[in-house]
């Protein structure tokens, strides 16, 4: 049964754009190969980290919302662990409130004239 998840991962800033895209494509491809479905994919670009990770103070943030089999998640995360380009990753399962919120957030982001990176200031308000 497909459950909905969202993963945010941080890639090292050392990567060139091409490597960055290729890293993201690798994970999106991994999901679609294993019977998953990408709901949405967002690049937050280069952001300053709140604290240095592996001596780096900035990182490429990427968000992937997808639906997948629960068994697939363990495999998915070992891929992240093995990949040394990824500084940090976090996969979160989404309940119905989270899914509703994500849709509203996407509508607001696409609706907003300038694609505000951080959602509007009262994003979580119903």
């Amino acid at each position: 049964m497909l459950k909905q998840y969202e993963t945010v991962f941080i890639a090292t800033p050392v990567l060139s754009d091409v490597q960055m895209k290729e890293a993201v494509a690798k994970y999106t491809g991994l999901i679609t190969d294993n019977g998953g479905k990408i709901v949405c994919q967002e690049d937050w670009g280069l952001k300053k980290l709140a604290y240095p990770i592996q001596k780096k103070t900035t990182g490429f943030y990427t968000l992937i919302e997808f639906q997948a089999e629960p068994e697939f998640i363990a495999k998915f995360e070992t891929q992240f662990k093995r990949d040394e380009r990824i500084l940090r990753f976090q996969t979160v399962s989404m309940d119905k409130h989270a899914i509703a919120y994500a849709e509203r957030r996407r509508a607001k982001l696409s609706g907003a004239t300038q694609p505000a990176e951080a959602p509007a200031e009262a994003p979580a308000a119903e």
Binding site: A50, Y61, R88, A100, P119, E126
Partner: protein, 88 residues
């Protein structure tokens, strides 16, 4: 024994008017606290970046757990610092 009216206060004693605290999540009807939105979560942190207790923010237990869960996730993703000074 000084009578009551003898006591002169240098400055008027300001009795803190008891403001009824309310849970902003219930009032605004928010159902999900997003861990990706650091600006919103900063309202629940003090200057050192620590999570404010419920007696200060007045949030209900159910949402305080959601907020602390979201803050911990944001910290893991380096969206929020674990400890800092003069964050705001």
């Amino acid at each position: 024994m000084a009578q009551n009216d003898d006591i002169r206060y240098l400055n008027p004693v300001n009795v803190e008017v008891k403001k009824k605290k309310y849970c902003r999540f219930k009032k605004a009807g928010i159902k999900y606290v997003d861990y990706k939105d650091a600006e919103f979560l900063k309202k629940f942190l003090n200057e050192q970046g620590k999570i404010l207790p419920r007696r200060i923010t007045g949030t209900s237990l159910k949402f305080q757990k959601k907020v602390s869960q979201a803050v911990k996730r944001a910290r893991h993703l380096a969206l929020l610092p674990y400890v800092t000074d003069l964050m705001k």
